[in-house]
Structure formats: structure tokens, C-alpha cells
């Protein structure tokens, strides 16, 4: 890992407030390698064109590259191309399932289960659905260390449970949930499972057949691709049963005022001109991380997590929020009673980008009885030297604030 990898990320080589940039906000969004930047540039310079329509050369080329990207995504998560729907991101993936699956199959009295540590985007669409249908949202409680309580989850499951929706990895704390076991238990009562893969795809191999999840959503921008593109995977037989999410061009076979027939999968859920270069950038990003190897990435990030945990704990008064046994490279922390925002500003002043606040997880913050945390999240282009520099910067900030 390193110099050669860092050279692929032009944005990392700059100074912020006179100090070399240290980018530790990867859970919010990741930086882009040249392979991705070039793919977007090539699209606009060489073959920008609308897809699936024109017979001309550029349209064919754009269609081919876009569909190649779909193929790459399908292979990456071990699905078929018909099961890969391009969407805007994780948020849209959840909303699509809540709307197209939920509206059709959820009835009054049904139950939907989420966990106490979900991102708002994996809570609010389900709340809206429950409100509309008279269904009930049930919540899996967590421990103080940030792990879901599996026995409590089993108790929540019943024949009323129709959907279980849970993150693979928590964005706020980094906890990795036992999703395979969660899915198996849900299937035993006949529920379908949506996995929020937003934080998992950047760090781990995700195999939808092995997990046996029914739906998986993730965001391109968090896996080193452009913004505004993401994926909804769904099992083919489920996608077939669902109604379209939006109407328009692309998603139809034929339109007349007597009636319209919908297109086949995966186009049924892709109304309108899609985010073509976004899709292409996602294919490029997945090819890029597969070249490095997700096993290598995971192993290196585990090293960064262990090193970062040790170094950060050397800062007097620092406590780590979220100490699950199984964790991704995310460190949420607080120092004494210092407001996270003050630490964020003083780290920024030293060139370091972290996230402060509730991380779109207000119910989790309520549960932990805090307003927010500071969060450093590492990617494979980060280094131990950056962790050292951050620990020192933290010590300086804490001294000023104490």
C-alpha cells in the first residue's frame, strides 16, 4: 500500500490551511482515483451520447460502456445483470423498495424492523410507509458498545414481520453487524431483508448469494466513484413482482393511451435518461479496487484501525464511542466534555478533515445520550503517518480547549 496508491488520488496532494491535507472523512464520501476521473473525462471528450436509443456510433459506444459497468457491478456482488438497477444512491435504493415493494405488499398490522443505529435514510422511508399503511416500525436495541442485541432481534421477529432493513456496517460507529445471521432468521419468518451496504462496499467483499439478502443498496460516491449514482440489487423474482417506481422513457416497452407495457428488468426501474457517466465511473471504481484486491484493502484498513485506536487513546481524556468486536475502519470519539464541533474546527485549522455531529443517526445519539461525536474514517489511501499527525493535532487542540 501507499505511495503508488496515493499517486492515483490527485486530490490528496494539496495543502489546507498551510498543512498537508489529511482526509479522514471517508465514511461521508471517498476520494476518486485517476481511473475514475479519466473514465468520466473520456465519456465527455469521446463518446457522450444518450444510451439505448440512437443507432449511431456514439450512442452504441455509450450504451456499451454503461452496460459494461452494470456487468462489472453484477460480477462484483455476484448477481445477474437483470438484478442490478442504477439509482442515485443508497437513499434512493431504500425509497425505491419502500415504495415499489412496500406499497404493494405491506398491509395494516404488518411489521418492519430496523435497528437503533440506522442512518436516517434507512429509517424515514420505512416510517413513511408504516404511516401510510398502518404498519408498525420495530427497532432492534443495541448495547453501549454499539452492537445489536441479537436475542432481542429474534424476539421481535414474528409472522407479522414483513421487512427487515439494516446496515451491514454502521456509518456512525463502524460496527459490522452479523447480517448473514440476521437474514437467515428473517427468512425463517418469511420476511424479506434490505441490506444498507453504503459503508460495506468500500471495505469488504459483499456477495449477495452468500448473504442471501433480498435487496442491497449502496452509493457510488462512497466506493470511489462519482456522486449521484448508486445501486439497488434485488432478487429477480422480487423485482419482477414490484411495480415501477417512476414512469417515463426507458422503463416502457410500448405506450398508448389504452395502456402501457413496462420494460423488462433492469430497465423497468430506470425511467428517464440515466446518470450515464456516473454508472461508467462506478464500473471504473470497482475495477480499480478489484485490482488492488478487497482482501488487501480490508487487511490494511484493519491495521489502520488498530493503530489509530491505539494512537487516539494516547490523547488524554479521549474515549472511543463504539467498541464493537467486529469493526470497520471508523473511529468515533469524544474528549472530556469538549464539544465535537470545536475539535473539528481546530483539526481543520491543522489541515485535517474529520466529521463532527450526529452523522445522520439521531436515534443512535439519543440512545447513547450524546449530541454527536467526532468521527475519523480511514480508507486504503490513508497512512499511519497521517494518524500520528492527527493524534498530535488532537493533543494540541485539546490543550487549547481544556
Amino acid at each position: 500500500m501507499n505511495d503508488s496508491i496515493r499517486s492515483q488520488f490527485p486530490i490528496l496532494h494539496q495543502h489546507v490551511n498551510g498543512k498537508p491535507l489529511i482526509y479522514f472523512d471517508n465514511a461521508a464520501t471517498s476520494q476518486k482515483p485517476l481511473a475514475v476521473i479519466n473514465a468520466i473525462e473520456d465519456y465527455y471528450k469521446q463518446y457522450n451520447s444518450n444510451i439505448h436509443r440512437g443507432a449511431h456510433h456514439l450512442a452504441q459506444m455509450a450504451t456499451e460502456k454503461y452496460e459494461d459497468a452494470r456487468k462489472t457491478v453484477a460480477q462484483h456482488i455476484n448477481a445477474s445483470e437483470r438484478e442490478i438497477n442504477f439509482v442515485r444512491g443508497t437513499t434512493e435504493a431504500v425509497n425505491l423498495v419502500a415504495t415499489s415493494y412496500g406499497r404493494k405488499f405491506i398491509k395494516a398490522g404488518d411489521e418492519i424492523i430496523v435497528s437503533e443505529m440506522e442512518h436516517h435514510s434507512n429509517i424515514v422511508p420505512w416510517q413513511m410507509l408504516c404511516e401510510e399503511k398502518g404498519a408498525t416500525l420495530r427497532v432492534i436495541p443495541i448495547t453501549d458498545s454499539g452492537e445489536i442485541i441479537f436475542e432481542e432481534y429474534l424476539k421481535l421477529l414474528s409472522e407479522k414481520t414483513k421487512i427487515v432493513s439494516i446496515a451491514y456496517i454502521s456509518n456512525a460507529l463502524g460496527s459490522i453487524h452479523p447480517v448473514k445471521e440476521i437474514i437467515r432468521a428473517a427468512h425463517e419468518v418469511g420476511a424479506v431483508v434490505f441490506i444498507d451496504g453504503a459503508q460495506a462496499l468500500p471495505h469488504k467483499k459483499v456477495d449477495v448469494k452468500d448473504l442471501d439478502c433480498d435487496f442491497l443498496g449502496f452509493s457510488g460516491h462512497k466506493v470511489f466513484a462519482g456522486t449521484g449514482i448508486g445501486i439497488l440489487y434485488g432478487k429477480e423474482e422480487l423485482l419482477e413482482k414490484m411495480n415501477p417506481y417512476m414512469g417515463g422513457g426507458e422503463m416502457i416497452k410500448s405506450v398508448s393511451f389504452a395502456g402501457t407495457t413496462y420494460n423488462d428488468l433492469p430497465y423497468k426501474f430506470e425511467a428517464g435518461t440515466p446518470h450515464i457517466e456516473g454508472g461508467i465511473s462506478l464500473g471504473a471504481a470497482l475495477n480499480y479496487i478489484n485490482e488492488i484486491g478487497l482482501e488487501n484493502i480490508s487487511a490494511y484498513e484493519d491495521e489502520l484501525l488498530a493503530y489509530g485506536t491505539e494512537k487516539f487513546l494516547e490523547v488524554e481524556g479521549l474515549r472511543i464511542v463504539g467498541t464493537a468486536k467486529n469493526k470497520a475502519s471508523v473511529i468515533s470519539f469524544l474528549v472530556n466534555d469538549i464539544h465535537p464541533y470545536d475539535l473539528g474546527v481546530l483539526l481543520n485549522e491543522q489541515g485535517i478533515a474529520i466529521r463532527t455531529g450526529h452523522h445522520c443517526c439521531q436515534p443512535l445519539m439519543d440512545r447513547l445520550k450524546m449530541e454527536g461525536t467526532c468521527r475519523a474514517s480511514f480508507a486504503f489511501y490513508n497512512t499511519k503517518e497521517e494518524i500520528d499527525a492527527t493524534a498530535n493535532a488532537l493533543k494540541r487542540a485539546v490543550k487549547i480547549l481544556s
Binding site: N17, I338, H339, Y341, D342, V345, E349, I400
Partner: protein
């Protein structure tokens, strides 16, 4: 004798000239905040919150012998330092002086340059609120 707004502003500008390093400026601002007298808990309610600030800022004003006095607090150290600077300049002045002061020291010490746009809006909200108190008492 109460110093004029202009004199206090000049003092602050001179104090800031001692620092080249932005971290030192922050340290100075935070220290000013630490010295701000505690605000009575009865004023730390939503009624006294300055709206438009990302961090919480509570501001209370009272009049005595034709002068307006400010007391404030914040839940974050940097914002508390910023409101403390404003209190130092404006507390004890006449309503007329508060309303008419352009507060040019803010640009002279380059305070906004390092504030996020939300914080900069917050700073503007604090000033608006202080001037509104002055209008109400004038």
C-alpha cells in the same frame, strides 16, 4: 469611564496583531470565551437563543443608567469566544452607539476568513440580535 466602541475595537485589533498563526488566534478567542462570566441558568432557554447559529448561543441584555449590558454563553468554546468579543465591544455602551457601530474590527482581524459559512452567518445573527436589543431599549 466607559471606553468607546472604537477604542475597544482598536485594542482587539492590536492584540490580534501579535499572532501570525491561526491556531494561536483561535487559542486567544477561546481564552476570551473562558473568561466570559457565566450566564445565569434562567437565561439559558430557547427564549434567549440566537437563531441562525449552528452552535447554541444564549444572549441576555439589560439596561442600567442609559447603558446596555450583555451577558452570553454558548455550548461550544469557539462560538463562546466570538460572542465574548462582541460582548467586550458592545456591553456597557449606549443603545445609540451600539446601533450605529459598524464593528469594523471583525474585518480587521480577519475573523470571517476562517469561519465556515454557517458560522459566519451565526456571527451575523449575533450582531443582529445585539442591535435589536439596543433598538428595543432606545
Amino acid at each position: 469611564m466607559q471606553k468607546s466602541v472604537g477604542d475597544i475595537e482598536n485594542e482587539i485589533v492590536e492584540e490580534f496583531e501579535l499572532f501570525d498563526d491561526q491556531m494561536d488566534k483561535y487559542e486567544y478567542i477561546i481564552d476570551i470565551g473562558k473568561k466570559l462570566p457565566a450566564l445565569d441558568a434562567k437565561y439559558m432557554t430557547d427564549d434567549f437563543l440566537v437563531k441562525g447559529c449552528q452552535s447554541k448561543v444564549w444572549l441576555h441584555a439589560y439596561e442600567k443608567d442609559g447603558q446596555l449590558f450583555f451577558e452570553a454563553d454558548s455550548n461550544t468554546a469557539i462560538t463562546k469566544g466570538i460572542i465574548a468579543l462582541l460582548v467586550r465591544v458592545l456591553s456597557g455602551q449606549s443603545a445609540k452607539e451600539i446601533i450605529s457601530s459598524p464593528l469594523s474590527f471583525i474585518d480587521k482581524i480577519n475573523l470571517r476568513a476562517h469561519l465556515s459559512s454557517q458560522r459566519s452567518n451565526g456571527l451575523s445573527s449575533m450582531i443582529v440580535k445585539m442591535k435589536a436589543y439596543a433598538s428595543a431599549f432606545s
